[in-house]
C-alpha cells in the first residue's frame, strides 16, 4: 500500500457491492414473482433490470421480488419506489421496456407513464 488514495479506492469500490447490507434506503425495484408473475415471464424482466443497472453502474438501487401483487392478468408487474416519491406500478412488462424505465425513471425521476398501470388502462379504454 503506497498511499491513502489507494486505500480509498478499494474502500469505494467494495462498498458499492456491499450497500445491500448497510441500509435499506435508496431506490427499490420490486418484481412480482408469484406463480402468475413467473409464468408470465417475470424472471427475464428481473434479469434485464439487474443487467441494465450493472451496465449503467447505478448505486443505491435494490432489485428484489415480492409475491402476487394482485392483478394477475397484468403480470409481469414491477413496482418502483423512489425515495420520497409515491410508488409507481408498471404492468405487462417485457425485457425491452426495462432500458427505458431505468433511463427515464430510475435515473431521471420521470415515470414512463405509458407503461404504468394507469397508462395501460387508458390505452385499453
Amino acid at each position: 500500500m503506497k498511499s491513502l488514495q489507494e486505500l480509498e479506492e478499494i474502500r469505494k469500490k467494495t462498498l458499492e457491492s456491499l450497500y445491500l447490507r448497510k441500509d435499506r434506503a435508496g431506490t427499490r425495484i420490486v418484481v412480482g414473482m408469484a406463480t402468475c408473475g413467473i409464468a408470465a415471464g417475470a424472471r427475464p424482466v428481473l434479469l434485464a433490470f439487474l443487467e441494465e443497472i450493472k451496465k449503467r453502474n447505478i448505486k443505491d438501487v435494490t432489485v428484489t421480488q415480492t409475491g402476487c401483487i394482485g392483478v394477475c392478468r397484468l403480470e409481469p408487474m414491477v413496482e418502483v419506489y423512489l425515495p420520497g416519491q409515491e410508488k409507481v406500478t408498471y404492468v405487462n412488462m417485457t425485457p425491452d421496456k426495462v432500458a427505458r424505465i431505468v433511463a427515464q425513471h430510475i435515473v431521471n425521476g420521470q415515470p414512463v407513464t405509458e407503461y404504468t398501470i394507469g397508462g395501460q388502462q387508458k390505452k385499453n379504454d
Binding site: 491513502l4 478499494i10 456491499l18 447490507r21 435499506r24 414473482m33 413467473i38 435494490t62 421480488q65
Partner: protein
C-alpha cells in the same frame, strides 16, 4: 463490479459451524446453481451474530430477513420461496425479528440487539472475514492511515489515554498508560503482542472477534507498533481455535499482499509485520509472563514481576501486550476520536464490553453492552431470561479467577470497579448464569477443579494450596465436611491469594471466597445438616418412593442396577438406602412421579 440483487449471509463462527453451517453454505451454493441464481445471489460466510443458541443463523439482504436454526434440509425451501419468489419462510424466521404485521424488523429493533452497543463486534456478521476488501469498505485500515500520516506516536498514545480505554483481558489496567510505558522503555527492538489465549471455561469473546473481524486486531497492532516503536508483532493464540487461526492466517496474508503489513506502509517508511504463535491450550499461558515465555519457545511458566513486560518482555526486549478485545477498540478510537469513546460507559469504565452468555439463560451467545448496563438488563432483556421461568440465583463472571454476583446486586451497573467492590471481577467476559437448581458449593468445586488441573506447579501456594482447598470442598460435597472446614477454606484462600506467584494462583481462591461471602448458608447446610439445598450433590441426596403415588408397576426395581428396590406387585415399593448408589435411574423411569430426591 459484481452486482448481486441479494446477499445471503451465513454465520461461520465456531458456534454455528458446530451446528452445521458449513453444510448450509454448501447446500445454498448447490441450490442456487440448480435454480440458475448463482449470478444474482451471493452467499457470504461471516462471523458471529451473537445468538449462538439458535444457530446456524442466516440473514438475507436486502430484506434483512433473520433465519435461525437453519438446517441443510431447509435450504431448498429458502431458495425456492424467498430467493426465487420473494416470500419469507416464516417458520424459520427468528420469532422476534418480524413485527405483528409480518414486516421484517431491522436488527436494532430486535429485543436481543436493542440494548446492545456493538463497537468491537461492529463487523461481526456484516463482513466476510476472509476478504480484506470488505473490511476496508467499512473504514478498515483508515485508522492506521490516519495514525501514520497525520499523527506522531505520542499523539496516538495521548488519544488512547484520553479515551479511557482499560484492558479487556480482565484486570482493567489503563491501556494508554501501558502504551506509554512501552514507548518510554529504552531499546531499539520492541515487540507488540496480542493475548488471544482465551482460557476461561465458557468464554468466547476473543475467538468471535478473531473469527468475525480479524483485520481489526491486525490494524490495531500495527497502530500500537507505530506508537511504541516496534516493527514486529506476535499473536499468541490457542491451537484449539482452528477457525480463528485459519482466518488470522488468511488475514495476515491478505494484509501483506496489499502492503498493509510489511515494509514502508503507506509510503511512510514504517515497517510492521505480524506472526502467529500457537499455544497448546494451557490456561496459565494467558498470564502475561508465561505467555511471553511460551512465545520464545520455552515452557509456559510465569516469572515474578518486576521487571514488567514493558521493560523486559519477549526475548528480553520491551514488549506491549494487550488482549484481543482491547485491540479491537483501537481503530474506532483513532477514527472517531477519544471523546466519542469516552462518551460511552460509566465514569471510570469507558466504552463497551463483550460478554459470552452461558449457563441457565435462554439466549446463549455473545453480547456487547455499554459499560454501566445492569445485570438485570443483560439477563432478562438481552438474554431473554432463564429457561423454565426458574429463579435467578447468581451470575458468575471472570471464570475461575472471578466470583459470583448474587440476586441482590441485579440492578448494579456493571463496570470494573463495581464488580471488584462486590468481590467478583470483570474478567475477560465469560458470564455464567446460575439458577435455583445449581449448588454453589458444587460451582466453587468446579472452578477449583479447573485451576488445580491448570496450575503450572511452579509455586507451592498454587500447586499445593489449591489442591488442599479442592480436597476440603470435595469432602463437604460428600457430606463428610466439618464446620471448621469452612474456616480452613477461608484461611487457605487468603494465604494463597497473598503468596502465589502469578495471577492464576492469586485469583484461584476467588470463586470459593465469593460463594462463601454470599452463600455461606449453603455451605453450612452441607456440613451441619448434610443436605444440599439445590439437590445437586448426590451423596447428600436420598431417593424415596412416595407411597401414595406408587402403583407397584415394578419398573423401578427392574432398572435399579444394584437391586436396592423391592416390593410386591401392585403394592408400593421401597428403596433400601444402604444399597442405593443414587444413580437416579429409577426416577427417570417412573411414569407416576412417585420417586422423590431430597
Amino acid at each position: 463490479m459484481e452486482l448481486y440483487r441479494s446477499h445471503v449471509l451465513v454465520c461461520e463462527g465456531t458456534g454455528c459451524h458446530c451446528s452445521g453451517s458449513a453444510e448450509v453454505i454448501e447446500t445454498f451454493k448447490e441450490e442456487l446453481k440448480k435454480n440458475q441464481l448463482e449470478n444474482e445471489i451471493k452467499v457470504v460466510s461471516t462471523g458471529c451474530f451473537g445468538l449462538c443458541e439458535i444457530g446456524p443463523i442466516v440473514i438475507v439482504y436486502p430484506e434483512g430477513a433473520f433465519y435461525s436454526g437453519v438446517k441443510k434440509e431447509d435450504v431448498p425451501e429458502i431458495v425456492s420461496e424467498h430467493l426465487l419468489k420473494g416470500r419469507l419462510v416464516k417458520r424459520l424466521l427468528y420469532h422476534d425479528s418480524i413485527s405483528s404485521a409480518d414486516v421484517v424488523k431491522s436488527l436494532d429493533e430486535v429485543e436481543f440487539y436493542k440494548k446492545q452497543k456493538r463497537v468491537t463486534l461492529r463487523n461481526c456478521g456484516v463482513i466476510n472475514p476472509e476478504k480484506i476488501e470488505e473490511y476496508i469498505a467499512f473504514d478498515g485500515y483508515r485508522a492506521l492511515g490516519k495514525a501514520l500520516t497525520e499523527m506522531t506516536p505520542l499523539e496516538v498514545i495521548e488519544v488512547v489515554k484520553k479515551s479511557g480505554l482499560r484492558g479487556r483481558g480482565g484486570a482493567g489496567f489503563p491501556t494508554g498508560r501501558k502504551w506509554e510505558f512501552a514507548h518510554n522503555a529504552p531499546g531499539d527492538k520492541k515487540y507488540v503482542c496480542c493475548n488471544a489465549d482465551e482460557g476461561d471455561p465458557g468464554a468466547f469473546m476473543d475467538r468471535s472477534i478473531l473469527e468475525g473481524d480479524p483485520h481489526s486486531v491486525l490494524e490495531a497492532m500495527a497502530i500500537a507498533g507505530y506508537a511504541i516503536g516496534a516493527d514486529q508483532g506476535y499473536i499468541y493464540i490457542r491451537a484449539e481455535y482452528p477457525i480463528a487461526v485459519k482466518r488470522l492466517t488468511i488475514a495476515i496474508q491478505q494484509a501483506r499482499e496489499l502492503g498493509l503489513l510489511g515494509k514502508n506502509i503507506f509510503g511512510t517508511g514504517f515497517n510492521f509485520d505480524i506472526e502467529l504463535r500457537l499455544g497448546a491450550g494451557a490456561f496459565v499461558c494467558g498470564e502475561e509472563t508465561a505467555l511471553m515465555s511460551s512465545i520464545e519457545g520455552k515452557r509456559g511458566e510465569p516469572r515474578p514481576r518486576p521487571p514488567f513486560p514493558a521493560l523486559k518482555g519477549v526475548f528480553g526486549k520491551p514488549t506491549l501486550l494487550n488482549n484481543v478485545e482491547t485491540y479491537a477498540n483501537i481503530p474506532q478510537i483513532i477514527l472517531n476520536g477519544p471523546e466519542w469513546f469516552a462518551s460511552i460507559g460509566t465514569e471510570k469504565s469507558k466504552g463497551t464490553k463483550v460478554f459470552a452468555l452461558g449457563g441457565k439463560i435462554n439466549n446463549t451467545g455473545l453480547v456487547e453492552i455499554a459499560m454501566g448496563t445492569t445485570l438485570r438488563e443483560i439477563i432478562y432483556e438481552i438474554g431473554g431470561g432463564i429457561p423454565g421461568g426458574k429463579k435467578f440465583k447468581a451470575a458468575q463472571t471472570g471464570g475461575p479467577s472471578g466470583g459470583c454476583i448474587p440476586a441482590e446486586h441485579l440492578d448494579m451497573p456493571i463496570d470494573y470497579d463495581s464488580l471488584t467492590e462486590i468481590g467478583s471481577m470483570m474478567g475477560s467476559g465469560g458470564m455464567i448464569v446460575i439458577d435455583e437448581d445449581n449448588c454453589m458449593v458444587d460451582i466453587a468445586r468446579f472452578f477449583l477443579d479447573f485451576t488445580v488441573d491448570e496450575s503450572c506447579g511452579k509455586c507451592p501456594p498454587c500447586r499445593i494450596g489449591t489442591k488442599r482447598m479442592l480436597e476440603i470442598l470435595e469432602r463437604i460435597i460428600q457430606g463428610k465436611g466439618k464446620e471448621e472446614d469452612i474456616d480452613n477454606l477461608e484461611t487457605l484462600a487468603k494465604n494463597i491469594k497473598a503468596s502465589a506467584l502469578c495471577g492464576l494462583g492469586q485469583t484461584a481462591p476467588n470463586p470459593v471466597l465469593s460463594t462463601l461471602r454470599y452463600f455461606r448458608d449453603e455451605y453450612l447446610a452441607h456440613v451441619r445438616d448434610k443436605k444440599c439445598p439445590a439437590g445437586v450433590c448426590q451423596a447428600l441426596l436420598q431417593y424415596t418412593i412416595v407411597k401414595e403415588l406408587c402403583t407397584g408397576c415394578t419398573l423401578c426395581s427392574k432398572v435399579c442396577p444394584v437391586g436396592a428396590i423391592s416390593g410386591e406387585r401392585k403394592q408400593p415399593f421401597t428403596i433400601d438406602q444402604d444399597k442405593c448408589i443414587k444413580c437416579g435411574a429409577c426416577m427417570e423411569k417412573c411414569r407416576f412421579k412417585a420417586i422423590e430426591k431430597r
